[in-house]
Symmetry: C2
Subunit: 148 residues, 2 copies
Amino acid sequence: MSNQGFWKSLENQPQGTQFPWAEVLEQLVFNEQGLITAVAQQHDTGEILMLAWMNRQAIEITLQEGQVCYWSRSRHKLWRKGESSGQVQRLKALKIDCDGDALLLQVDQQGPACHTGRRGCFFYEVRDQSVTIQTDPLISPDQLYAKS
Amino acid sequence: MSNQGFWKSLENQPQGTQFPWAEVLEQLVFNEQGLITAVAQQHDTGEILMLAWMNRQAIEITLQEGQVCYWSRSRHKLWRKGESSGQVQRLKALKIDCDGDALLLQVDQQGPACHTGRRGCFFYEVRDQSVTIQTDPLISPDQLYAKS
């Protein structure tokens, strides 16, 4: 069965239906680089913190350790969020979308999620032909990365 | 200046700083297929509705029409959300992330966002080696697409 067929076969089941994670993991849709998009959301406020990428190992580490691990596309390695800044993301819930090609991480983010020291990464707003910076850093990047 | 240099040059500016959208648009980071990831969030509840993709034209149409238009990777064409289901997404705010390679669409979603008839697409939750369906459809897909 193709990945697509797998996800189609699941979607008509009612709320509460369970499937073995080991089987579902095999059917996640990774891109050509072996990556899947992951959106991180603060679990209680609903704020979108960041968008990043995971490979299979990053997902397994995240579930095992209860703290989010991504794949860094720029550094080409596993990236335990907060490993250099101390600003970890504790995993509250991991969700998969209808066609198995995106993840939602509901987390408890310690301090800023963004490398600029801002709480979240989506701080540019487009409106009326202008882009406006919406937030200031909680802490300067110099201070944030001085710990490492 | 590289895209990366452009985004670096912006991020140290204070809250309220404005840039011309026409210039920023030129620096958005699209992938090899000319696409950028877009996360749709219900503007008032914070619920994550779906993750999809946009090309440059889809972004321009979305801003112009005030209703979200994506690029359908399966159908290889522009996809005005709700064109076959009637479940449109009215744009409330369009945000860009720190490195210019992801968009956050804060929207007012009419009815279900998901093709399964569920409110949102992230209805599978992974926990304790199981995956559980968290929600039921608001409306059956047959009914949803009967209108088209």
